[in-house]
């Protein structure tokens, strides 16, 4: 079923919407959750919570890109669950991703400024539009989809080290870009 049809089912409050979403995007939502969480029951719960959240938000929300809309929900729910988990239950792969992102943050000695939600995202958007396409896609695969380096290497037909070095350079550029824009994270 096309995305438009599924969204239409949500608007009509037909429970078939949930089934169609699961059929088409179940694996996709699980993959996003699995990259952040390690416990299988958490991943399943995250998937089901995603459908529930979609049910509760459409309407009034009208997703323009249904897959991204669901992915965003799954990602947020998984991230919340990750925060609740104890250190033992945490996904080590994902911890590596967070550690990598620390490279974009200011040093601990710097005074932090508070930013509103979405404010930094706008700057990151601008930054991503400015860099070359491959670096942008690698960055999003790593830090939006939380894909492993191995997966990204296979996907883009690149060596692991090439992926790592490209990501490293992009993170550094992002840090410089944010500093230039006067953002102190």
């Amino acid at each position: 079923m096309e995305d438009q049809g599924i969204v239409h089912l949500y608007l009509r409050r037909s429970q078939q919407a949930l089934l169609e979403t699961k059929n088409k995007y179940g694996a996709y939502c699980k993959a996003i959750a699995r990259n952040i969480l390690s416990n299988y029951s958490d991943i399943e719960e995250c998937e089901n919570d995603t459908y529930l959240a979609a049910w509760n938000t459409i309407p009034p929300n009208m997703p323009r890109k249904f897959s991204v809309f669901l992915g965003r929900i799954a990602r947020n729910i998984a991230l919340d669950k990750y925060g609740y988990n104890t250190a033992k239950k945490r996904n080590r792969e994902f911890e590596v991703i967070l550690t990598e992102l620390e490279g974009c943050l200011a040093s601990p000695n710097t005074v932090e400024t508070e930013y509103e939600a979405g404010e930094i995202a706008n700057l990151i958007n601008q930054f991503l539009y400015e860099i070359d396409e491959q670096a942008r896609n690698l960055f999003i695969r790593r830090y939006w989809y939380s894909d492993s380096i191995e997966n990204i290497s296979r996907m883009f037909n690149m060596s692991n080290s090439k992926v790592k070095s490209t990501l490293f350079r992009t993170r550094n550029k992002l840090r410089d870009y944010l500093l230039k824009e006067g953002v102190n994270l």
Binding site: R64, K65, R72, I124, Q126, Y143, F156
Partner: protein, 317 residues
């Protein structure tokens, strides 16, 4: 900020970017899948010689390999997200020492009209350019300020009966005319109303009907003139009148009439007037047989009845 917070912020980036990344590198993955299919087909062929199995496998293979594209959009052809309007870029360009950049930036900043804070910012930044020694920049700045300050006093603006305003940007940027895009402000919202094709390269004039319900848009390329009548409110347009008149008159006089694929008809118009609220009249100089024959005619077109009359100019006088 913690790295989790930054990760959360990354979650809010533009969905076009996420979608593009979702489909990036996918060819590699598809190749992998198709190899698996090849192995599967080979195994099936070994284990079963029945034609049914082979046909079924072939069918399944085709089902999975055929791309499904509903519309070929500019975005999909470029394999990257479309560049979005970025007012900040144009604000920065105002500080450039290149006059062309400044001129373009001033015109493009009018598009920030719907973003209240950006509108105010653009207005403030553009105002000093009204005093520019460069006449084109000063003129563009005066027009941009007129729109962004919502004064609407410029002679470039056509006010319609429903209160909406129609105008072009890059006014008279060339000797031939203005940019071939019509903009409209209705209920305090700016929209790109219509973008003409490449042939109609410039908009020379917008002439409203006496009751201001219709507009005649006079366009031109380097070699031809074109006229459309538009009912802006109902979003209805006439056929292009110069080419239509040329074809109609050619048929009347049994002239050899061809339409070029680029619509360059080497025909021109003059003295365009509204006879009443519904009828436009203009003089046309229509070309036939690769401009070997030029016919001077007078054309009237009644919009509501879609009726056109074309007569030889001297006969009609």
């Amino acid at each position: 900020m913690k790295s989790e917070d930054l990760f959360r912020e990354i979650g809010l980036i533009d969905e076009n970017l996420i979608d593009a990344a979702e489909h990036s590198g996918i060819n590699g993955r598809k190749k992998g899948i198709s190899k698996k299919w090849v192995v599967l087909v080979a195994c099936l062929a070994l284990y079963s010689s029945t034609a049914t199995v082979l046909l079924a496998t072939d069918y399944i293979k085709n089902q999975n390999s055929e791309p499904y594209i509903r519309y070929l959009t500019a975005e999909s052809l470029e394999l990257q997200p479309v560049t979005q309007y970025d007012a900040d870029k144009f604000l920065k360009a105002l500080k450039s020492d290149n006059n062309d950049y400044i001129y373009i930036a001033i015109n493009r900043l009018v598009e920030s009209f719907n973003d209240e804070s950006m509108r105010v910012k653009a207005l403030k930044e553009i105002q000093p350019f009204m005093e520019s020694e460069n006449e084109k920049i000063a003129d563009a700045a005066a027009f941009a300020v007129d729109i962004l300050s919502k004064t609407y006093e410029s002679s470039y603006i056509v006010e319609l009966a429903d209160g909406s305003k129609i105008f072009t940007l890059f006014n008279n940027y060339s000797d031939y005319g203005s940019q071939n895009v019509l903009w409209r402000i209705k209920d305090n919202v700016l929209e790109e109303y219509f973008h003409y094709s490449r042939t109609a390269m410039y908009i020379r004039k917008i002439i409203p009907s006496p009751d201001r319900k219709l507009i005649a848009v006079v366009m031109n390329s380097n070699k031809s003139d074109f006229i459309d009548i538009i009912n802006v409110e109902d979003r209805m347009t006439s056929p292009e009148l110069v080419e239509s008149a040329r074809v109609k008159y050619g048929a009347q006089k049994e002239l050899d009439t061809w339409i070029r694929i680029d619509h360059e008809n080497y025909s021109y118009v003059n003295d365009i007037v509204w006879n009443d609220n519904d009828t436009l009249q203009f003089e046309g100089s229509l070309a036939y047989d690769d401009t070997a024959i030029i016919e001077d005619v007078i054309v009237t077109y009644q919009f509501s009845k879609k009726e056109m009359e074309v007569n030889k100019l001297n006969e009609s006088r």
